[in-house]
Symmetry: C2
Subunit: 457 residues, 2 copies
């Protein structure tokens, strides 16, 4: 059994939904289909979810929102029309949407969640109707009825553990199940939505619950690239990578898949296949627990900007028990999260995202470190980029570091920082932001473009 | 004005003390001479300090120690005889030593300190007598009279700040001042000794106090080697290095100079010259605040064994505020100090000296990290060696990392860890202990032996 999730752009029009039908029909194991709300058909299009939020806000202010409700229904009606569906489904959607809009507004954030969720919920009903009209045995599944229970955290609901047992029962149902993404129900029966990329979470939870053999995630790209295509033109595509590799890449700028959404699938070891609705025959990119190591030690190169380094030195620092812990305590008092702590004998640096350092916070941190830890020197360096060279084959490969460092040296890039030795699948280099693009290109050339030339025994 | 300190082997015999006289006379700026107790003349010789400790312990047990006192006096008498000194100085030493041995034993540790200090104190008197007998205007200076005040911590006395003002007055005295190393006086007038390498501390404190132009530290080696001569045969000598470089090297196995002893000189920016009493014309090794960068980026390569790495991983670790701080708190609860914390996105490692991990402590740490931090995985890797490549020229030299990494790769050494980016003067590699010697040799060959062959633009 496969769980298949389609994103908003894959469901934005009747034409797109026809593709979805063909994809689902092409493999009888595609039994659970998780759907998003209709996305943009063109760049200037409005997403249904955004229209719904505007409706909810108008209602909360006591204003009428008839125009916006009409725009929303118009989107669904136009899709239904394209698909040759009868008015019946639009009548149902109108009735359901109005019921929610007239519902309980005593908890405004929960009310907004309930209205937002209508985007996915109604689209699931429409798609189920279309499948049935095409003679495919399909049914809309309501998350409450299926037992997808969540915490009462508006906009950030967490799945309750018991849901997995309830949802396992979906295996027994016949036909194709059309399941709306993005939300669940509290035990009291109220709708709460997940965080960003919420439909990905629904698909991941269902994959885990029904012990799917595969979680297919359809988007609008053929595959995950091995490097940022804005930096390197026409980079190679990644055919398979591990969860760990995906995590390391997504940390530094790769945003194809929201990595928190992966957790349920990751914990159950369900492989994930990122595919393109518009080109379903392309193999896409597979995310797995373990993979065979082929094509060299590196699978991808990622980079991200906006980091800074707080450097401090103190003679005999390394004899001082608790020094590092005290520094981290001070950061925690200011609510600052850090990324890495390279250290020498008598110095340490804290690498962190510099958007956290508002002037008052920066002054506060520097003052406390100076006063409480009596450092000899403290300084901040801004505008650093972190480069991640990622690959399961790297750790045990003598010489990967040498190749990376030489590639950077030959491109004239100075390495501000190296962090290697904890992660088995990545090596991190810190460089100045101004040298980021040159550095990424050099590493790509070394590990992808001309591997055969440089490869050493 | 120069402060000159001589170690025990430089003062072990009359012949050695004659060399010391010649060294002091060769430069009229050598005005303050700090002396140790007589050291070993041959490997099976007993140090006077050790004999004194035995005397003190006998006295504390109520036993007689006449034999040991005789052995000690015999050492001084034989030196005095070699130097052609009259009995007068030995009579004085006998009287002073007996007075201390019969002194107050109400605080046993302070009593041992007082007896130990006689080694340096009496030798200073003898050497002053010899200088005078040779027609050199010289005088023994008592640390109490000169104002070297310390805390009442037996065996670990700390210099009181006011001492620096008192000792500054030594500049006004005429002739050569012979100052016993290793001890000072509490404000109550009792003797307390410094920690290990205590005479180095006295020299460093005096250099700071009198604002010496140079602190010359005479030992029995020509210079500090650029690498451990037990690993690399006939390595190059270091002519000049900075305090920071010395600290980084001494951390990982270089033990020519006790780095805590350097602090007073370092704080005042007094250059230190390590020289050989037996070959005073050799330039020795100079330790300075700043140096010119010549002869490539690297000044020395050090290594040390006996490290281990506690590795832990947890999915989405980097989103968890306070994770690192909590780990460090647990280590601190067990009194464990760590060296470095390389980290990935979802994992971190703690590098520490493994002799701290007794079985009960190890189990305790692992249990608490597992239970309190809910890590997915935790493991310890033992028997790691840390290699330090040290040099002020390194940080700003594009390609140094590449050269080091390539040298290790070509020697077939796998790099377990790299720590670079905080210290401006060092780069640290972690390797398995079994690969330590090969790694050090490879780095030495790269940066010292064949620099001209490998050097790239």
């Amino acid at each position: 059994m496969k769980v298949v999730k389609f994103g908003g752009s894959s469901l934005a029009s009747g034409e797109q939904i026809q593709k979805v039908l063909h994809i689902v029909m092409a493999d009888p194991r595609r039994r659970i289909v998780v759907v998003s709300a209709p996305g943009k058909r063109a760049p200037d299009d409005e997403k249904v979810t955004d229209l719904l939020i505007q409706c909810a806000e108008s209602q909360l202010k006591g204003e009428h929102s008839t125009d916006k409700v009409d725009s929303i229904l118009q989107r669904y009606a136009s899709i239904a029309d394209e698909l040759g569906l009868s008015d019946k489904v639009i009548v149902r959607i109108r009735r359901d949407l109005n019921a929610v809009l007239e519902g309980d507004r005593s908890e405004p954030l929960q009310y907004i969640d309930a209205v937002k969720a209508c985007g996915e919920d109604n689209h699931a009903k429409l798609i189920a109707a279309y499948f049935e009209a095409q003679g495919v045995p399909a049914q809309y599944v309501n998350p409450h009825e299926a037992g997808l229970f969540v915490t009462s955290e508006a906009g950030n609901a967490q799945v309750l553990e018991e849901s997995y047992d309830h949802l396992y029962q979906l295996r027994e149902r016949q036909g194709v199940l059309i399941f709306p993404g993005f939300f669940g129900y509290s035990k009291a029966g109220r709708v709460y939505t997940f965080s960003r990329s919420g439909s990905d979470i629904t698909g991941s939870v269902l994959s885990h619950a029904v012990k799917a053999e595969l979680y297919e995630n359809f988007t609008d790209v053929d595959a995950v690239f091995s490097v940022n295509p804005h930096i390197v033109s026409h980079p190679k595509e990644i055919t398979v990578l591990t969860y760990r590799e995906m995590r390391e890449l997504s940390y530094a700028g790769f945003s194809v898949f929201h990595d928190e959404a992966l957790i349920p699938a990751f914990r159950a070891g369900i492989p994930v296949n990122i595919k393109n609705t518009n080109n379903p025959n392309a193999p896409g990119t597979k995310i797995v627990s373990h993979r065979e190591l082929t094509n060299g030690p590196v699978v991808g190169i990622a980079s991200d900007e906006g980091f800074c380094s707080i450097y401090m030195s103190k003679y005999l620092m390394n004899r001082e028990v608790g020094f590092g812990r005290k520094v981290l305590n001070i950061l925690e008092d200011f609510g600052i999260t850090y990324e890495h702590i390279p250290s020498g004998i008598d110095d340490m640096s804290i690498i962190l995202r510099q958007n956290q350092l508002e002037p008052l916070i920066e002054t506060g941190i520097l003052t406390r470190i100076k006063e409480e830890l009596a450092v000899d020197e403290i300084a901040i360096e801004y505008n650093l980029a972190l480069l991640m060279v990622v690959g399961e084959g790297m750790r045990r490969n003598v010489g990967t570091t040498a190749r990376a460092a030489r590639a950077l040296a030959e491109a004239g890039v100075n390495i501000e920082m190296i962090n290697q030795g904890s992660s088995e699948v990545s090596m991190m280099f810190g460089v100045k932001e101004t040298e980021e693009a040159r550095a990424v290109q050099a590493l790509y050339d070394e590990f992808f473009a001309s591997a055969s030339v440089h490869e050493k025994a």
